[in-house]
C-alpha cells in the first residue's frame, strides 16, 4: 500500500534533522515575561526566547552563573546589588541591550505581573548609572536576590519592540535568546527558529517546534513512532507517568530523563477562611491522619514521585531531617476520634475539593476522596483548568484544594516566604496564611540571615512552627521526567525550575 510506505517514509526518512519536535499537553499561557503566571511551558519558551541577567546551570548541583550580567556584587550597606552588563548583546530586532532596557523590562513586568510583583516585593528602586551597570536597591537584605533575577519573569524584553508592537508584543515577543519567535497557532503549535546573532553563538538546532498533543497515549505512540522527539516534562507533571516510565526503560530508542524536583503537591486548606469545618485544627489534623500518603507516593505513583513531609521538600538544602517524624502518620482510627471530638459523626461532614484536570490529579483526588470516605468525610471533587483554579484560589473561593507549588528559584525562601508570608497571602500561589506579624518576622529573619548555617537553623524552627498549624497535608514532590528519542543529545533537564534550555541540544 503506497500510502503506508509514504507514511513510514514521512515518519523516518526525509525528516528535517535540525528540528526538535516537542510534545506539550496544553497551549502555553504566556510566552513573554509580563504575561507569564508560572505556567511551565510558557516559562520554558521564555527562557529560550529571552535571556535573564543570571541563570541556573542544569547539572546535578545547580549553580547560579552569569548570563546577561557578567558579574554582580552586594552593595556596601547590604541593601542592594550592582550588576555589570555584558556589552554588545543584541535583541532579535537588532537593537542593543543596555541598562535602560533592563530597567524598562523589570519595571514593566513588575507593573503587569502580580506573581513577579510578589517576588520582587523588597525592591525599592532601580538605578542605571551608566549603559553597562544596573543597581537594584532593596528594602531589606535579600542574600539570594541574584537568583530572583534568573526567573523567567525577570527576562529582558526589547523596549523597541514593545514600543512598536504594543499589545501585539505578547503574540510576537522579541528578546535576546538563542531562538526567536517564528509562528504560533492557538492550541496547535508554537514554533521558534534559531537566532544566529545570539551572544553565545548560534544554537545547533534550526527550529524548535512545540506541538500541543493533549492525550498521553497519543504522545507516547508518537514518540515511539519517531513522529516527535521529546515528551516535555510538563506533560508528565499532570499525567500518570508510571506505566510510560516502565515501558520506555525497556525501549532502546527512547531515553527516560529524570531529575528530582522541589515541585510540591499538597492537599491544602484555605487558611484565610473564617467559617466552616476546616477552621477547626482538629478537623485538619484528622484529615492529615486519614490520608495514606506513603501508599500514594510509593505504590500508586511508584517511581515518579518522592514523598514530602512538610513545607520544604526533601531536595531543598534547608530541609529539616527531623520533619518526617513530625509529619502526621496514616492512622484512620485516630482520625475518626479527632473528628468525633470535634463533633462530627461519620457521614455528617462533607467538603468540596478543587483540583486541576489531568489524570494525575483525577487519580490523586479520587484516592484522597476514598481515604476521607473511610473516616466518614464525604468529598465532592471539582476539576478545572489551571487559570480557573488559580483564579478561584487567589479569590479564596474554596475550602480544600489539591494543588501544587513550583518554586521558581532554588532557595527555601521560594517556598516559605512566597508561600507563608501573610502580607503576600492574596497575591499569588500562596497558602493564604492569616495575618500573623510574629510568623512574618520569623520568615523575613530566616530569609535575610547569613551565613547559611544560621539560615538553616532558623528554617528548621520555621518548618516546625508552620507544620504544627497544619496549613496543608503535604503529599509528594513530582520527579521531573521527560521522554526523549535516543537521537537527542546534550539534553539537560532543569530540576528547579523544571525548564529546559535548548541552545546546546543536538540530534544525531
Amino acid at each position: 500500500m503506497p500510502l503506508a510506505a509514504c507514511g513510514s517514509a514521512a515518519v523516518s526518512g526525509r525528516r528535517d534533522a535540525r528540528t526538535l519536535t516537542i510534545a506539550i499537553p496544553t497551549d502555553p499561557a504566556g510566552i513573554e515575561p509580563a504575561a507569564n503566571l508560572a505556567e511551565v511551558v510558557g516559562s520554558e519558551i521564555i527562557l529560550n526566547l529571552f535571556d535573564t541577567l543570571t541563570a541556573w546551570t542544569s547539572d546535578a548541583a545547580p549553580r547560579l552563573v552569569p548570563r546577561l550580567a557578567t558579574g554582580w556584587q552586594i552593595l556596601p550597606d547590604g541593601l542592594g546589588w550592582r550588576f555589570t552588563l555584558r556589552p554588545g548583546v543584541r535583541f532579535h530586532d537588532n537593537t542593543l541591550l543596555d541598562a535602560a532596557a533592563v530597567r524598562f523590562a523589570i519595571a514593566r513586568t513588575i507593573a503587569a505581573n502580580s506573581y513577579f510583583r510578589a517576588t520582587m516585593a523588597p525592591l525599592r528602586r532601580i538605578e542605571t548609572p551608566d549603559a553597562g551597570t544596573v543597581v537594584f536597591h532593596l528594602d531589606h537584605p535579600v542574600p539570594f536576590f541574584p537568583a530572583l533575577l534568573a526567573q523567567p519573569q525577570a527576562a529582558i524584553v526589547s523596549p523597541a519592540a514593545v514600543a512598536s508592537l504594543g499589545k501585539g508584543f505578547a503574540r510576537a515577543p522579541v528578546g535576546t535568546g538563542p531562538f526567536r519567535f517564528l509562528s504560533r497557532e492557538d492550541d496547535v503549535a508554537v514554533r521558534l527558529a534559531a537566532f544566529p546573532g545570539h551572544f553565545r553563538g548560534r544554537p545547533w538546532l534550526d527550529r524548535l517546534d512545540y506541538q500541543v498533543i493533549s492525550a498521553p497515549s497519543t504522545r507516547r505512540m508518537m514518540l515511539e513512532n519517531g513522529e516527535i522527539d521529546l515528551c516535555h516534562q510538563a506533560a508528565q507533571l499532570a499525567a500518570l507517568a508510571v506505566e510510560d516510565v516502565a515501558a520506555f526503560r525497556h525501549n532502546p530508542a527512547v531515553r527516560v530523563i529524570e531529575a528530582p524536583s522541589q515541585i510540591l503537591r499538597q492537599l491544602e486548606f484555605n487558611n484565610r477562611l473564617d467559617h466552616g469545618p476546616t477552621t477547626d485544627p482538629r478537623v485538619r489534623t484528622a484529615i492529615a491522619h486519614a490520608v495514606d500518603a506513603d501508599g500514594l507516593a510509593t505504590r500508586i505513583l511508584a517511581g515518579t514521585v518522592d514523598r514530602a513531609w512538610g513545607p520544604l521538600p526533601g531536595a531543598n538544602w534547608a530541609f529539616d531531617p527531623a520533619q518526617p517524624a513530625r509529619a502526621p502518620a496514616y492512622d484512620p482510627a485516630l482520625a475518626r476520634r479527632l473528628l468525633a471530638d470535634a463533633g462530627y459523626a461519620p457521614g455528617t461532614l462533607s467538603l468540596d475539593l478543587i483540583t486541576f484536570t489531568g489524570s494525575l490529579w483525577t487519580t490523586v483526588a479520587t484516592f484522597l476522596q476514598a481515604n476521607l470516605a473511610a473516616v466518614g468525610i464525604g468529598v465532592t471533587i471539582a476539576q478545572m483548568e489551571f487559570p480557573a483554579l488559580r483564579a478561584r484560589h487567589t479569590a479564596g473561593q474554596f475550602a480544600m484544594a489539591l494543588d501544587g507549588r513550583s518554586p521558581w528559584f532554588n532557595d527555601p525562601a521560594a517556598h516559605l516566604t512566597t508561600g507563608y508570608l501573610s502580607t503576600l497571602a492574596t497575591s499569588a500561589m500562596t497558602f493564604r496564611m492569616p495575618p500573623d506579624a510574629a510568623l512574618d518576622r520569623q520568615i523575613i529573619a530566616a530569609e535575610s540571615a547569613s551565613p547559611d548555617s544560621q539560615r538553616h537553623a532558623l528554617y528548621d524552627q520555621l518548618q516546625a512552627t508552620i507544620s504544627a498549624r497544619v496549613p496543608a497535608v503535604y503529599l509528594f514532590t513530582s520527579r521531573i521526567i521527560a521522554f526523549a528519542s535516543a537521537r537527542v543529545q546534550n539534553l539537560q533537564l532543569g530540576g528547579t525550575p523544571p525548564l529546559t534550555q535548548y541552545w546546546q541540544v543536538r540530534k544525531a
Partner: protein
C-alpha cells in the same frame, strides 16, 4: 426548477436559523449567577466585570440584547475569545477548513465503502453477504467513536506503524496555509511529499468518522435498493434484456439513493458531533477540538461561536443534500406524480 426549490429551502431555513441563534444566545445567559462574573472568573475586578457586562449589554432588556447579537453575527462578528482576547471569527476561520476536510474525506470514504456493500447485499437479499454485512453494519453503529479512534490509532499507528498516530501533517513539513485544506494546499504547492503526508494523516480519523456513516447508510441504501429493484421501470428494463450491472448501477441506484439522502443529512450532523471526539483523540486542529478546549477553558463566547458555526454548517449541508436529491430524481420537483 432547482433554483426555485433552493430559494424556497433557504427561506424555510431562516426561521430555523433564527431559532438556532436564540438557542445559542440563550446558552450564555443560562449560566447560573452573573454570566459576566462567571466568564471572567473569580479573579476579576469589579471594573472588569462591569466592562464585560457593558460589552454584553447584560443590563438591557433581553430583546435589545438579542437584536444586538443578531446584528453582530450578521456583520461576521462572532465575539472575542476570553482566553486569547482575539476575534473568534478569525480563530474559527482558521480551524474550520480542518474539520471540513475531515468531514468530506469521511463522507467520500463512507460512500466508497457503503455503496458497493449495499449493492452486494441488495442483489441477493438474505444471502450470506447480506447477513454478514448487516451484522457488521449494526456492530459499526454500536461502537463509540472514541473507542474506534483509540483502537485504529493503536493498531495502525502504534503497533503496525503504517500510518501517523496524530496531527494533520508532520511538523517539519509545516508551511503557512493557503486554503487551510492540507490536501489542496499540497497540490497548489506542487509538493508530492506534502500531499502524501497530508493524506496519510487523514486516513485514520476519516475512517473513524466514516465507519458510523457507512454502516447506517449501507443499511438504508440496501432497503431502498431492494424496493427500487422491484419497481416497474426496472422490471421493464430487465424484460428488455439489459445487462444486470447496468440495471443496478444506472437505473435502480439513482433512484434508490434519493430517499436515503435526507438521512445522510441528519447523519452528517451526527458526524460533525463525532468529529469532536475524533479530533480530540487524533489531536486534529479543527472545530471539534476547538470546542473541547473552549469548554475546558470556560471560554463561553468561543463555545457560543463554535455551536453557531456547527449549526449553520449543518443547515447549509442539508439544503445542499436536498438539492442534490432533487437533481438526481426529477420526480421530487414540483407537485409530484
Amino acid at each position: 426548477m432547482i433554483a426555485g426549490y433552493l430559494l424556497r429551502r433557504v427561506l424555510a431555513a431562516i426561521p430555523v436559523l433564527a431559532l438556532v441563534l436564540v438557542l445559542v444566545f440563550a446558552l450564555a445567559r443560562m449560566i447560573p449567577g452573573d454570566p459576566a462574573a462567571a466568564m471572567l472568573g473569580p479573579g476579576a475586578s469589579t471594573t472588569q466585570i462591569a466592562a464585560l457586562r457593558q460589552t454584553m449589554r447584560l443590563d438591557e432588556p433581553l430583546t435589545a440584547q438579542f437584536t444586538h447579537y443578531v446584528v453582530q453575527v450578521a456583520h461576521g462578528d462572532l465575539g472575542i475569545s476570553l482566553k486569547t482576547g482575539r476575534p473568534l471569527a478569525g480563530a474559527l476561520a482558521e480551524k474550520f477548513p480542518a474539520t471540513i476536510e475531515l468531514a468530506v474525506a469521511a463522507t467520500v470514504l463512507a460512500l466508497v465503502l457503503a455503496i458497493p456493500a449495499a449493492v452486494l447485499a441488495a442483489v441477493r437479499p438474505d444471502g450470506w453477504i447480506d447477513n454478514a454485512l448487516r451484522v457488521i453494519g449494526i456492530a459499526g453503529v454500536s461502537l463509540p467513536a472514541f473507542l474506534t479512534a483509540l483502537a485504529l490509532q493503536a493498531v495502525f499507528g502504534a503497533w503496525l506503524g503504517w500510518l501517523p498516530v496524530a496531527l494533520r501533517q508532520s511538523p517539519w513539513l509545516a508551511q503557512p496555509p493557503i486554503t487551510g485544506l492540507a490536501v489542496v494546499d499540497a497540490v497548489l504547492r506542487g509538493r508530492l511529499d506534502m500531499l502524501l503526508d497530508a493524506l496519510a494523516h487523514l486516513v485514520l480519523p476519516a475512517l473513524v468518522l466514516a465507519s458510523f456513516l457507512a454502516a447506517s447508510f449501507s443499511r438504508l441504501l440496501r432497503a431502498s435498493l431492494i424496493a427500487a429493484l422491484h419497481a416497474p421501470h426496472v422490471r421493464a428494463a430487465r424484460a428488455r434484456g439489459l445487462p444486470a450491472r447496468a440495471i443496478v448501477w444506472r437505473h435502480a441506484l439513482r433512484f434508490a439513493i434519493v430517499p436515503t439522502l435526507p438521512v445522510i443529512g441528519i447523519q452528517f450532523g451526527d458526524m460533525l458531533g463525532g468529529a469532536i471526539l475524533t479530533e480530540t483523540v487524533f489531536s486534529w486542529p479543527g472545530l471539534g477540538r476547538f470546542t473541547v478546549e473552549a469548554i475546558h477553558n470556560r471560554d463561553y463566547p468561543a463555545i457560543q461561536a463554535a455551536t453557531l458555526v456547527f449549526a449553520a454548517v449543518f443547515i447549509v449541508v442539508s439544503i445542499l443534500i436536498d438539492a442534490f436529491a432533487l437533481w438526481l430524481d426529477p420526480r421530487l420537483r414540483g407537485g409530484g406524480a
